[in-house]
């Protein structure tokens, strides 16, 4: 769901730009600037090609390769409406300025992209310009996709064109003035989309370069995990340092040991990317669970390892408000708790939560439900704890999905705030103070 908040943030960006405050909106640091060293064009790179598909798929046909790349770029999540046909568009992105709908990218000639030439498609993915010349809203992460090699973009097109055309016209965007003026998006694009293909670093390993390509060009991780500057473009000086987007907190994934993932082992990072869960560190929920379900869990193991290798080199950025997760279990006795805990929080926890999560933070049922050590539980904002209570969570597994039910419909804001504060106090390193009003804003 990364695109949703992008939409609102980017629309904000337009305001800022239109206001003519561009003077101090310096063009952003490039996403891989931290790596230093020397970067060369793909054509001038002598190592193994970091673009394309992993070696296991090298012999596959174009459509298969395109499908893999489309999965890695997570196209389907945004271009599919709930209950709608895959890639037929129509997913709404609600912003304070109106609602955007993702377009149909099936090969239907009238309502999809069936009439788009290869050049049309390349221009859209790299430059954010549609076939008819109109500017796409940067809810579409073309500033990341512009790193993608032409061959990969065309493979994705080949895959999309291999699908059955679906006739579906998503609703028209409903944006207020001036955000409904598409040409203005050209300004944002000019400032923040370098429109430059991926450049491998010659002093880094082939695995690192492959990981960089996956993380930056395809998976567009920075879209959520990097805070934005005033123009709402990713501020790569705090690359992957975490951000709050669309009501969820995308955590710090830098190498900071306390607040980032510096203390995680390679195997843990890999397991998380593939399965959304690591014993002692927690399970993914919200937008990250969507990314894992639809994209990251489906990558080749060699690609997962490459992403891990790249992530390992991201400079540490400390998030001062995020303490290192508490690793000791809480008491197994409900009443034993430092500070006693809020009575209502305990009541909600006892009724709805304890059966799965246990009183100690170690689930009596399965490790996905452990609370001890989980980043969100050790986040004194309690944003993600509240979100997961409201919306539940689902991680797809071949052996049956791992599911937490969504309690938002029947539990009040005050109850959700109480249980979130109870959970952070009981299992985390710092008690949160989230209020009913805060919870209302998260819904």
């Amino acid at each position: 769901m990364s695109l949703r908040r992008r939409a609102s943030l980017i629309v904000l960006a337009v305001v800022v730009i239109v206001a003519g405050l561009g003077a101090w909106l310096a063009p952003p640091t490039r996403p891989m600037a931290f790596a230093g060293g020397s970067a060369v064009t793909l054509a001038n790179y002598s190592g193994p090609d970091p673009t394309g598909v992993p070696s296991e798929l090298r012999g596959a046909d174009l459509v298969t390769r395109g499908r893999y790349l489309a999965t890695a770029a997570d196209c389907g999540v945004c271009h599919t409406a709930p209950g709608g046909a895959e890639f037929a568009g129509g997913l709404p992105f609600k912003t304070p300025f109106g609602t955007l709908y993702s377009p149909n990218i099936t090969p239907d000639r009238e309502t999809g992209i069936g009439a788009w030439s290869e050049a049309d498609f390349l221009r859209a993915v790299h430059k954010g310009v549609a076939k008819d010349g109109s500017r796409l809203y940067p809810a579409f992460p073309y500033e990341a996709y512009s790193l993608m090699a032409d061959a990969d973009v065309l493979a994705i097109r080949a895959y999309l064109f291999s699908l059955a055309p679906v006739r579906n016209t998503p609703p028209a965007n409903r944006l207020m003035f001036p955000f409904n003026q598409r040409p203005l998006m050209a300004i944002w694009g000019a400032l923040y989309n370098p429109d430059q293909r991926f450049r491998p670093h010659t002093d880094r390993s082939p695995q690192w370069n492959r990981g960089a390509y996956l993380v930056e060009a395809l998976a567009h991780c920075g879209d959520c995990h990097t805070a934005r500057n005033l123009a709402q473009a990713p501020d790569n000086r705090k690359k992957f340092g975490g951000a709050v987007i669309q009501g969820w907190r995308a955590y710090n994934i830098t190498q900071d040991r306390a607040s980032g993932v510096g203390a995680w082992t390679d195997a843990e990072l890999a397991a998380y990317l593939r399965g959304g869960h690591v014993l002692g560190r927690g399970a993914a929920a919200g937008p990250m669970a969507e990314a894992i379900n639809a994209s990251l869990s489906r990558l080749a193991p060699s690609d997962t390892l490459a992403m891990v290798a790249y992530l390992r080199t991201i400079p540490a950025v400390g998030s001062r408000d995020l303490p290192a997760p508490k690793t000791e279990l809480a008491s197994d006795l409900p009443k034993e708790m430092a500070g006693g805990g809020d009575r209502r929080g305990r009541e909600v926890f006892a009724g709805a939560c304890a059966s799965c999560h246990g009183w100690s933070g170690k689930s009596p049922l399965f490790p996905h439900a452990n609370l001890t050590g989980v980043r969100a539980v050790n986040d004194p904002s309690a944003i993600n704890v509240a979100q997961v209570v409201i919306n539940g969570a689902r991680l797809e597994r071949a052996g049956g999905d791992v599911v937490m039910p969504a309690f938002g419909q029947t539990y009040s804001n005050a109850e959700i705030a109480a249980v979130a504060n109870y959970v952070t106090a009981r299992f985390g390193s710092a008690r949160s103070e989230i209020t009913a009003r805060d919870v209302a804003r998260l819904r």
Partner: protein, 216 residues
């Protein structure tokens, strides 16, 4: 196509094996990992993580029998690791006193004791039970606390339709075993996960207090 690709990729790389071993997520695509004090994985195949596939890489598991300690007896069953204990008890062993109510650990009707603790069997993978003893409603009355609880239930005429009461009694017995003199807050915490649609809650609370008082 999907499946073929998945199988090919899933079985291909050394990388994969390395990942599995290093990361301890061996069982990720297959049985749920063991929550803790459980025996080694029994039987089932190592399922490969799928790659590039939208759906399951189904392999027909060759299941090995496993032995469980149920109500003081060793019972051998053949069931996949991820099969909840509830269905092993009800559908394989015929111990139907343990009830299915919600399947998501929200109602407590399926509560049994595993290693002495009250656990919702509807979500507990049988593969994680290991050697821990399991006690169900059929035999909890043979324990000292269980008998006290059942007697108190009868004395105060707690039961209406009775469907949830197996779980209520198992939760209450586990409470008394852990906290011999529970106060109202202890009772709330231990019993709030057990729903009674007939609304017998007041009597459940009174019966727990009666069971406490009946302790010799």
């Amino acid at each position: 196509m999907k499946g073929a690709l998945a199988r090919r990729l899933g079985r291909s790389g050394d990388t994969l094996v390395q990942l599995q071993t290093a990361g301890g997520w061996l069982a990720f695509r297959g049985a749920t990992q063991c929550a803790g004090d459980c025996g080694g994985p029994q039987g089932s195949s190592i399922e490969h993580p799928e790659v590039g596939a939208g759906s399951a890489t189904m392999e027909v598991d060759v299941l090995q029998p496993r032995t469980l300690q149920i109500n003081g007896e060793a019972r051998t069953v053949t069931a996949p690791d991820d099969m909840p204990l509830l269905w092993v008890l009800r559908d394989i062993l015929g111990l139907t006193g343990t009830k299915f109510g919600c399947g998501i650990a929200q109602c407590g009707a399926c509560t049994v004791h595993v290693g002495g603790a009250a656990v919702r069997s509807c979500l507990l993978p049988v593969g994680s039970v290991g050697a821990r003893p399991v006690t169900t409603i059929e035999r909890v009355g043979e324990t000292e606390a269980g008998a006290r609880v059942q007697n108190a239930w009868l004395e105060l005429e707690v039961v209406q339709c009775g469907y949830c009461q197996s779980g209520q009694i198992m939760s209450a017995t586990a409470l008394l075993n852990r906290i011999p003199q529970p106060d109202d807050a202890d009772i709330d915490a231990a019993m709030a996960g057990n729903i009674c649609r007939c609304g017998t809650y007041d009597r459940i609370r009174d019966a727990i207090k009666r069971a406490v008082a009946a302790r010799a």
